[in-house]
């Protein structure tokens, strides 16, 4: 027995869940999506992913060590997640230096300036992505086709995304029927055989990752489910009203960054609400904004903007939607 006993307040035991476990769990959940991106986009996808992760981890290390002068936090795995998500959000032929600037903005500006993991109001990877989208609009919206570019690094064969084709076509006055022949079929969209950002292409891989996180209790169903359902219902109503002007809801689910956004970005625990009712509101808001931007906004895709806007509303949602407290009932039956 020790000479001096340790004194501390209860509880004296701690569950084995840790921040590290949660973060590395998310990394594991991202593996299927990464593998699909490597399969379709080959070498360039691998190079971009590695660069992005390395840059994010390095920037976090440098900021904690030289600016904040604190113990390094890079082993907690959150910088790795940001790195992977950032890479999954860019086209495969993006010049590497642009991605490094994106990583600097994501980690340096969107995460560490607020105090690091847990303090940032906006999803760092999304901030990085939107920064690149605004700064390098051409490179960020030319999408190499899958499979054909596996071994090519530059001068890839590119094309617009499905959402882009539809949006531009409708703007020109074409009907949806005619445009549908120019976009991939649903099976290809489901497995990821289409042009797009690295991680936006395969709905199935993303859903597998999502189920893993649900099983490990890293996320709850509230945000992804309401997000996706809202998009489905909203676009469904539009499609029902005028199928020549609006594309069907299944297309909206499979195209663009909806799955990646709903399952991996909107569920970021740091930047989403703390109560289940708040999460439902958050998911609903993300869904509405996504459709508004996709259908009537200036960009063909709106998931990133929708999530960032809802991130900004999280403090308000947390105030307005608190968990139900015990003993609030007035009558007992």
């Amino acid at each position: 027995m020790a000479n001096l006993l340790t004194i501390s307040g209860s509880p004296h035991i701690q569950s084995d869940n840790t921040t590290k476990k949660i973060m590395w769990g998310v990394v594991t959940a991202l593996v299927p999506t990464m593998l699909v991106s490597f399969w379709y986009f080959g070498l360039s996808a691998i190079i971009l992913t590695l660069t992005s992760v390395a840059a994010c981890v390095l920037f976090e290390y440098l900021v904690t060590k030289y600016l904040l002068k604190q113990a390094s936090t890079i082993t907690d795995g959150s910088a790795v997640i940001t790195g992977i998500l950032l890479a999954l959000n860019v086209p495969s032929n993006l010049p590497v230096w642009m991605l490094i600037i994106g990583a600097l903005v994501a980690i340096g500006v969107a995460k560490m300036t607020y105090g690091g993991l847990g303090k940032n109001p906006f999803n760092p990877a999304l901030v990085g992505r939107v920064f690149m989208l605004i700064s390098f609009p051409v490179n960020m919206t030319s999408w190499p086709l899958p499979m054909v570019n596996r071994t090519v690094l530059a001068d890839a064969i590119t094309g617009p995304t499905s959402l882009g084709i539809i949006k531009e076509g409708i703007a020109k006055g074409d009907t949806v029927d005619k445009l549908m022949s120019h976009v991939p079929n649903y099976l290809d969209m489901l497995i990821g055989n289409m042009g797009g950002s690295l991680g936006e292409v395969s709905a199935i891989a993303i859903i597998i990752g999502g189920l893993f996180m649900l099983f490990r209790k890293i996320i709850t169903w509230h945000i992804p489910f309401t997000f996706i359902l809202t998009v489905f219902l909203f676009t469904g109503i539009l499609y029902y009203a005028d199928p020549t002007k609006y594309i069907d809801p299944v297309f909206h689910l499979l195209a663009g960054g909806l799955m990646l956004g709903a399952i991996f970005m909107a569920t970021d625990m740091v930047t989403s609400p703390m109560s289940k009712s708040g999460m439902l509101v958050f998911g609903f808001g993300c869904g509405i904004l996504t459709v508004l931007i996709r259908v009537w906004g200036a960009y063909p895709e709106g998931v990133s903007f929708a999530i960032l806007i809802m991130n900004a509303l999280v403090p308000l949602i947390n105030k307005g939607f608190k968990s139900k407290k015990f003993g609030e009932v007035i009558k007992n039956g």
Partner: protein
């Protein structure tokens, strides 16, 4: 199977001593009986240095409404009445008795037979319980008679007996249910009579299947008593959680169980009530679980109040080499003690010896806003928010967040992946808000 709905956690049970029969340990050379044995005002000593006392004799009398009598747990001579380090971690007034023999008061019925027939009337039962110095033996040590006096305008509808024992490691209630089931049932019937109800539920978690089976069999012939198996979940032994699990009623915030027609008593308390009412025996001994992962012989010991805990630890095979923390109670709500030179009190349900590697706290890191604490809080509070209010010294704001509803079950700190000291901060806030409420009342 029933359980409470809101929140809850699943710490490992570690019930190392659940198959060890209760063993009475020998008498100490001296018994050091603290005057802090219950919540409320400490009682006044009614013996003086040099007095001869018998086992069961009143030695301190509780005069306030919320206060409880204390009886000699041993026979002998009162050698000192002075401030001594005791289970609370402070130096408090204790009555020290040098043990001579084991002479009980003649009025105590020492015969082993079980007395089934309840002769006393309602008021007499409550008076007897008050006289016998019975307190809630689950750990809260609230004077039992106070809980049995139903306030005017309220009506008790059912009695709930707490056999949940949701704290990891502790097994004393489990053993009591198995070994003293028949007395327990009589105790329950006495308590039912005292509060005038014809329904009683005994809530037991299903990790104690043997106790559920045994008591269900005994309850069969006793109309009105039902054993309710409950799904294992911490903190089901919390009064409000247990009422919710069994009756699906929610005690409103800031109110007592009687608001929804319930009175809750622990199984150990029911046994003490049986002994007081049927056998005229005041509360002067209790069952203590002595346990820990490195403890040689984890066990359940029946010890007189005032026995040095070193005697209990010796009985369990001595204090393990790697012990760094000793806890009075279980690991979730127990208090770590600064010395093993303390003595058994009425509220001591267990002694847990924690090895060094489990004694140190994990270094906290940033809150990642995972909201786990809000999901598992059995009172539906926002521990992260209250904790933040403490950190920014805005504790007063925590009143609106219902900080006073917190029962300090520890589920938030237990769950936090960033190892934030949530409950520590909540305690600070409770303290502050409590002061504010008291000043306002004046």
């Amino acid at each position: 199977m029933k359980t409470f709905k809101l929140g809850g956690v699943h710490p490992k049970g570690n019930k190392l001593s659940s198959d060890k029969a209760i063993k009475a340990i020998g008498l100490p050379k001296t018994a050091t009986i603290s005057l802090i044995q219950s919540l409320g005002a400490p009682p006044e000593p009614v013996v003086a240095k040099g007095d001869k006392v018998k086992v069961g004799q009143l030695i301190a009398k509780g005069n306030a409404f919320i206060s409880s009598n204390i009886h000699a747990s041993v026979s002998g001579t009162v050698s000192k009445i002075e401030d001594t380090l005791e289970a609370s971690g402070y130096r408090k007034k204790c009555i020290v008795i040098d043990v001579e023999g084991d002479e009980w008061l003649e009025t105590i019925d020492k015969k082993p037979n079980i007395k089934l027939e309840i002769q006393l009337k309602k008021e007499e039962i409550i008076a007897k319980i008050k006289e016998a110095g019975i307190v809630g033996l689950g750990g809260a040590t609230f004077p039992t008679q106070v809980k049995l006096m139903i306030p005017e305008g309220k009506k008790a509808e059912c009695l709930i007996i707490n056999g949940v024992e949701c704290e990891p490691y502790l097994t004393s209630d489990h053993r009591i249910m198995l070994e003293r089931g028949e007395e327990l049932i009589v105790g329950v019937r006495i308590l039912m009579k005292a509060i005038g109800v014809d329904k009683a539920f005994i809530g037991i978690e299903n990790n104690k299947a043997d106790a559920i089976k045994y008591l269900s069999k005994l309850a069969k012939n006793n109309l009105g008593i039902t054993v309710v198996p409950l799904k294992v979940k911490y903190p089901q032994g919390g009064e409000k959680q247990l009422i919710k699990a069994i009756t699906n009623r929610e005690v409103p915030s800031g109110k007592l169980p009687i608001e929804v027609g319930c009175v809750v008593q622990n199984v150990g308390t029911a046994i003490a009530v049986y002994e007081a009412v049927q056998k005229n025996k005041p509360l002067f001994e209790r069952v203590v679980t002595v346990t820990g992962k490195s403890v040689k012989n984890p066990c359940n010991l029946l010890a007189r109040i005032g026995t040095p805990i070193s005697m209990l630890i010796e009985e369990a095979g001595g204090i393990p080499e790697d012990t760094q923390k000793v806890i009075n109670g279980g690991p979730m709500m127990g208090k770590s003690i600064n010395s093993i030179d303390i003595y058994v009190v009425k509220g001591m349900s267990g002694l847990l010896m924690m090895p060094e590697k489990e004694s140190k706290r994990v270094t906290p890191s940033n809150c990642i806003r995972c909201a786990q604490c809000t999901f598992i809080c059995p009172m539906g509070l926002n521990p992260y928010l209250i904790s933040q209010m403490t950190e920014t010294q805005n504790e007063a704001m925590a009143e609106k967040e219902r900080v006073m509803d917190c029962m300090e079950c520890g589920s938030c700190s237990y769950t936090c992946p960033a190892a934030r000291p949530l409950l520590d901060n909540i305690r600070v806030a409770k303290n502050k808000v409590g002061q504010i409420i008291r000043t306002r009342a004046k």
